[in-house]
Symmetry: C3
Subunit: 347 residues, 3 copies
Amino acid sequence: MGAAKQQAGRFFEDFKLGDRLVHATPRTLTEGDRALYTALYGSRFALFSSDEFAREVGLPESPVEDLAVFHVGFGKTVPDVSLNAVANLGYAECRFHQPAFVGDTIRTESDVIGLRETSKGDAGVVWVRSTAMNQLGETVADWVRWVLVRKRDAASPAPEASAPTLKEAVAAEDLIVPSDLDLSRGDTRLAGAPHVWGDYEVGESLDHVDGVTLEEAEHMMATRLWQNTAKVHFDRNARPDGKRLIYGGHIISHARALSFNGLANAQMIAALNGGAHANPAFAGDTVYARSEVLDKAETASAGVGALRLRLVAVKNVPADAVALRGEDGKYSPEVLLDLDYWALIAK
Amino acid sequence: MGAAKQQAGRFFEDFKLGDRLVHATPRTLTEGDRALYTALYGSRFALFSSDEFAREVGLPESPVEDLAVFHVGFGKTVPDVSLNAVANLGYAECRFHQPAFVGDTIRTESDVIGLRETSKGDAGVVWVRSTAMNQLGETVADWVRWVLVRKRDAASPAPEASAPTLKEAVAAEDLIVPSDLDLSRGDTRLAGAPHVWGDYEVGESLDHVDGVTLEEAEHMMATRLWQNTAKVHFDRNARPDGKRLIYGGHIISHARALSFNGLANAQMIAALNGGAHANPAFAGDTVYARSEVLDKAETASAGVGALRLRLVAVKNVPADAVALRGEDGKYSPEVLLDLDYWALIAK
Amino acid sequence: MGAAKQQAGRFFEDFKLGDRLVHATPRTLTEGDRALYTALYGSRFALFSSDEFAREVGLPESPVEDLAVFHVGFGKTVPDVSLNAVANLGYAECRFHQPAFVGDTIRTESDVIGLRETSKGDAGVVWVRSTAMNQLGETVADWVRWVLVRKRDAASPAPEASAPTLKEAVAAEDLIVPSDLDLSRGDTRLAGAPHVWGDYEVGESLDHVDGVTLEEAEHMMATRLWQNTAKVHFDRNARPDGKRLIYGGHIISHARALSFNGLANAQMIAALNGGAHANPAFAGDTVYARSEVLDKAETASAGVGALRLRLVAVKNVPADAVALRGEDGKYSPEVLLDLDYWALIAK
């Protein structure tokens, strides 16, 4: 009776190669989401703040912040993919296909594209490609992620091992620029800085200076806003140390918002190439961020360039005070996030 | 001069049987309320999350969460009814008459339907029937509640005692199903679970598994959002113990949101039959919830069934780890909420 | 390279008399801002809560709370004016020219109208007149403020000293009443109190009774909502004492919301004549407020009167328990805010 009605989540042996998972709770984006994103992260990119600025650069109105759309789409996959995950191992090939606007309804489906049992035999790696769609069925964003999932029964037989081949980064020519977008038409005074695509060099480093101290109420409100239900974020009794683990996406959004100070014209995210949540973050930690320019590319739009950036968030020390990795090759303990992404920037 | 202009609230002798109280501050519902409700409670019922899902089941768009409408309507009564309340004794016969949507303006009026001085003579019980209306004057929800209110002057004469006869529960045939609502048309994959009306049995118990730790900033933001002004929620100096008492409605909303895990298709609340806030909740407490199916009924709509549910919220222990009442018949100290309500669920 | 791209803020010698500063990040107001303002401050003025009430008194719909518009407009000036400020010295001559509504896009420009190097020569006072405009280029609000700004190089030459002449208060005849506004048409039961313009006397004092304890998550969400980036509000490492300083505007908004209890019909702010943030506020402090009627005036609208009010916020003691200033003429240590403003009130 009762016991069967709660979501226990899928175990490793519940995933079959080629399965299509239809995730619950479609979500209509509202003006409230826009305001809450600003209240939670203080984002200042003009494109996501002003309808007028958005129209000047070719969009019909200001879209919902790209990371908010990603968090909403991602959150829907948690109950079906990672409720029994031992570890979130990585993500790759995330592309934003088109902006989402207030009134759009986002839902997500995932294809199981890889399975590999661990040598120990009590868990396995599951790869899924997830697609967030709007109410017209058009893709808004898609991405691959892979997680280590427990087996319900360690004795159950292993599936044939199959792992997808993933790109190390989305190729510049595969980046999707919204049609009619021309960031060069934006007033750089209103955008907040004069520096555009041509002013950045590969290898350049930027310390984003500002910091933000994390609060329980804020990370929980954010994570609930995306309807992400993983209990470690909300229940102080869920972990032995009594701490609530902060959703990795909360750190990404803070770091991206901090990066405005140095990258004001890098208005949109076109792709997430990959990332690692190197260490956990908890309330009371203070987040700082720095960026490194990994690559530059032209795009199909004459007024839009692309920067491939490594965005590093650290805790409790200035962003440039710590090496990404120690001599042992492991992330330094202060590193929270190592994110590789493509931004679209005015030319 | 000045002293007369602040709201001191009504004392027991200020209430007259038959009085009609027009409460202040009508409130237009916005998309911001929808987003904040999600951020504060993480509600995942598809009907309140997706305009598309709402249209599939017969509504013009996604309504504002029913409990949010209740909190808004209820909050308006506080300055006139319970500012000098010693205790909130109970509520009954709450029915939701129609959904409210973004753009609707809610105001509340209350009729004094019962008065009874206490034997001690320094306070009295006041019963009011409150009606929350939209801008067309249509009833959105109504309910009865009764509170123990201090007298301004213990020597003032007692009114003739009069207590209304209240139903132990709203009868199934009195439940109002929104016209055109057919929850059976909703995709249960998008709703989050396959279990519909026919899958639940009277007497069945559901542990909702997940928990949420309470924060000062969250309960205060919620309570202010409903413009509920009772000072014990906001001012650490208002109680001798220096704690801010959490509004009971905050616990109801958390418990209802937690109940998604087991009751995903029970999308709407049709009636609140009664409830008790058995013990106070404070920031730092962690809330868990369980439900018991008390009754089942058909409704006027072929695709909509009704479940009468007892929703129990407890603090700091698993939801099923504690009896509702001890051997002395009193609520166990861990019990926060004992709520009896009717939900509408897909058939 | 990198170092030049972050905002270091202007130093004293970077300001030239007559300069026009175009501030970054125009901001479209949303329904989410309205809801968050309610959630953060619990404002209950009917005009800002109900579209229906707003129409009854002559506006097309409920505007965005006037202080929210001020905070948005003000926040934009911080990166260009006060990032290197040693002290915010004052503001004056703030007038609200017209209400702003959901969908309006606010941007701000500032004129440098005064410069005076300190006698010590390592800093200087900068006066700016800032104008917040909507998308049509119409003025929504304007104000003067002056700040003490560090010099980059103490040896750089002093500019010719020039200080503007500022009015001690906006004259009653210069107050702008929105066209078609007639607050006397509002139902005072819905507004929350019967007391209108004629019921207040110059010299009258009002203790607003209620109090609110401040939280880190709330003041940070508020300050980010206004895209105000001053790091002392967000980063616990920014001050030697490890405390996050609460944005003065957060205190103004709390005090104004508390003042509803006594001033329910004083629906709108027409002007801020000046104010002092007498002492810092931190999370954990509890704010109380009192008002004094400084002056009364008729306005161009027959149904709208004006009250000049001194709004005083104090911390951790009842609002009337402490003198504004001690015998030494200095603000008492419990005083947070001393604000002189004009409110529009029903006649």
